[in-house]
Amino acid sequence: MINSSLVLSIVTFVYGFSAVLYISAWIFARKTPAQVARYSAIAGVIGNLFGFVLRWVESYGHGYGHIPLSNLYESLVFFALTIALISIAIGLRYRNDMISTFAMPLAFIALAYASLSPSVSDKIQPLIPALKSNWLTTHVVTCFLGYAGFATAFGIGVMYLVRECLPGRKGGLISRLPEGYVLDELIQKTVMFGFLFLTVGIITGAVWANSAWGTYWSWDPKETWSLITWFVYAIMLHLRYMRGWGGAKIAVISIIGFMAVMFTYFGVNYLPGLHSYGSM
């Protein structure tokens, strides 16, 4: 019997396969594995989307149908989907597979953590009253698109530091990465994408909170951490535009920013608050 957990476990391996191929294409400077990697990544995305929809359908079978964005497992599944999708899109747009070389492992890790970690339950649970809102979908989807943008920026930032700060031979591994200025600009692009969606995510969260509890902002730890993340990236945009920062400094901020994202996503679970992904 085919079910969403099974589909998503298979997708985990497809992502892993694709990540390994991307990395070996890079290491051995071959075109073929990169192409296979891209096709398997696309197959993975389709499977991931299928698993997501299937889980949605299954939740109706349990008698309380809702979009699968209500707990940690479901959010990780969606996170992996957005990372894979965005990195493939950027790769196609800029005709460069390198972006996925660093992003696909992240998609793999997210889904592997969801599928394999014993502490993440994949049970379909009913929605508690506070989550029953049309804002749930918009809020979660936009937040995760933002996170995925930042995850990609993080991957590119690491790539930048590897390329520009490590000594590399001509024709060696490192020199096969895209040129520094391209990476620099891509960090900017992906951060802007992430910033726009995080902004929408925070706003829809605020509107939702206002419709559920009567306050649009209550300094709940998750809210506060999303604001901290937002500040970090706002600082980055200002430093870049007005103080002319670029290159390694910006790459470092993209890494710090992503740590704030990760803390907003996971770390906050260890602090008290209203958000429900805390209950693994």
Partner: protein, 464 residues
């Protein structure tokens, strides 16, 4: 220097400081870093909890710095104020020159473009004038309407679009100011509190959350009914209350509210936030006599002794406890009372509602069980008034629109240079942009490639 000059110097310096992006980076960093404290240290908890956790000395320091309610502390508010002033001055400083750029006439300076991004030069059939005319039609869609300038024998086409997008960042900053203004208005003229209304009753005062002061609503809220439902798993599914607004003697509005769907009236919102049961005032009790084996149901009020038939004494129900613990075990809703036996001896009884046989364990002359009682809920409403919320919502819309404009739209200029060439004309595309050079590079490259493809195939050549 006379006094005026000193003053002017000071004003200029202050203006310089407050209009600088350096200050905003510093303030944003401070806000980001200090905000972390409030997420690790629980906010607004009881003093003894802090004392226990941090000890006396640390408690004093943290208390002095308002760390226990840090987002409302003077220094945090001061940082937010600085951010606001910074934004206002910064915008006043730069907006005029931005407006000037947006308002000026199109620049037709080929040298500017020759220094900007450039595509590969293509060869095309036809004289420069013919080619330029064809291109001005064909490239209008991706570029904009062209202005033609003749330069010697060559032709230059200029196009420009998206100049207004330079104002996007002022939309973003204006939005942030609206958010700050909305927050301020809310904290000055709004309040946050709660009301607990028993089913069937009305209330008109709000108890404020942080001061326990009360505020009159100016009208009454009546709760007709409250209900809670559960999933099979035991998790709560829905809380709902039927509320009625009674104003100036009449019922003006009624609404069934659930979490996420509040009642709003006269700028005040009522949210379903919790519930509880109201202790009943009366109940019926069943007394079973050990001697005769007879059972007698009798109604009684809390606090009043009930005579037990067969002259077995009296029973006085005293309290109704929702969650009673009997020797460390939670036994649920329980009636506590005192049994006064024939001889005057008193025994305290605990009668859990769910286990009617509980009192048998005492092996007394008479066994008491709780029969029927009135089970009423009260609904817990969160009540808020926030006149600033509309500023905040307007700010939200501006913020999204402004970010979209600043990030994904740009002020673009194009030049198409057509010069005479041995086989006809040579065409070069140039582009300049106020940001996102990589994007512009791609645009120029794609358009050049497209033109090349189209001119290579004879039947799709430039229309003559």
């Amino acid at each position: 220097m006379n006094k005026k000059q000193v003053e002017k110097g000071l004003v200029d310096t202050l203006w310089g400081v407050f209009s600088s992006v350096r200050l905003s980076v510093i303030v944003l960093t401070l806000l980001a870093v200090t905000s972390i404290f409030g997420t690790v240290i629980p906010q607004n908890a009881a003093a003894n909890l802090y004392l226990e956790r941090y000890g006396e000395a640390a408690y004093r320091v943290l208390h002095f710095l308002d760390i226990f309610d840090m987002y409302h502390s003077w220094w945090f508010q001061f940082l937010i104020l600085l951010l606001g002033i910074n934004l206002v001055i910064c915008s006043m400083d730069r907006l005029p020159s931005a407006l000037k750029i947006v308002g000026r006439t199109q620049r037709l300076n080929p040298e500017n473009y020759r220094r900007a991004l450039k595509g590969e030069t293509l060869k095309m059939e036809g004289s420069p004038a013919e080619v330029a005319e064809g291109l001005s039609l064909r490239l209008k869609a991706p570029m904009a309407t062209f202005t033609l300038v003749e330069e010697g024998e060559g032709q230059l086409l200029f196009a420009e679009k998206g100049r207004w997008t330079r104002l996007g960042v002022y939309v973003v900053h204006g939005a942030v100011l609206l958010l700050l203004a909305g927050g301020l208005i809310g904290s000055l003229f709004g309040y946050e509190g709660y009301m607990n209304i028993t089913e069937g009753q009305s209330d008109q005062t709000v108890i404020l959350n942080n001061s326990n002061a009360t505020v009159p609503l100016g009208f009454q809220i009546r709760c007709d009914d409250f209900a809670v439902s559960f999933y099979d798993t035991g998790a709560p599914k829905e809380y709902r209350s039927d509320l009625v607004v009674v104003d100036e003697g009449g019922e003006v509005l009624s609404k069934r509210i659930v979490v996420n769907d509040p009642l709003r009236y006269k700028g005040i919102s009522f949210y379903q936030s919790n519930y509880g049961t109201v202790p009943p005032e009366s109940a019926s009790f069943v007394f079973t006599s050990k001697a005769s084996g007879m059972s007698y149901p009798v109604d009684g009020n809390f606090g009043k002794p009930i005579p037990i038939p067969e002259g077995l004494g009296t029973f006085t129900p005293l309290h109704f406890i929702n969650n009673y613990k009997f020797r460390g075990h939670a036994v649920g809703a329980t009636v506590l009372g005192v049994l006064k036996k024939k001889g005057g001896e008193e025994v305290r009884l605990a009668l859990p509602i769910k286990s009617p046989k509980f009192d048998r364990m005492r092996r007394g002359e008479v066994t008491v069980t709780v029969g029927e009682f009135e089970n009423r809920y009260y609904t817990g409403l969160q009540v808020t008034k926030d006149p600033g919320v509309w500023f905040v919502y307007t700010g939200f819309i501006f913020l999204i629109v402004g970010c979209y404009i600043t990030f994904f739209m740009s002020h673009q200029g194009f030049m198409v240079e057509v010069t005479p060439d041995t086989s006809g004309s040579a065409v070069t595309l140039y582009g300049s942009v106020n940001k996102n050079r990589l994007g512009m590079e791609m645009v120029i490259r794609r358009l050049t490639e497209k033109l090349e493809r189209e001119t290579r195939i004879p039947e799709r050549q430039v229309v003559k």
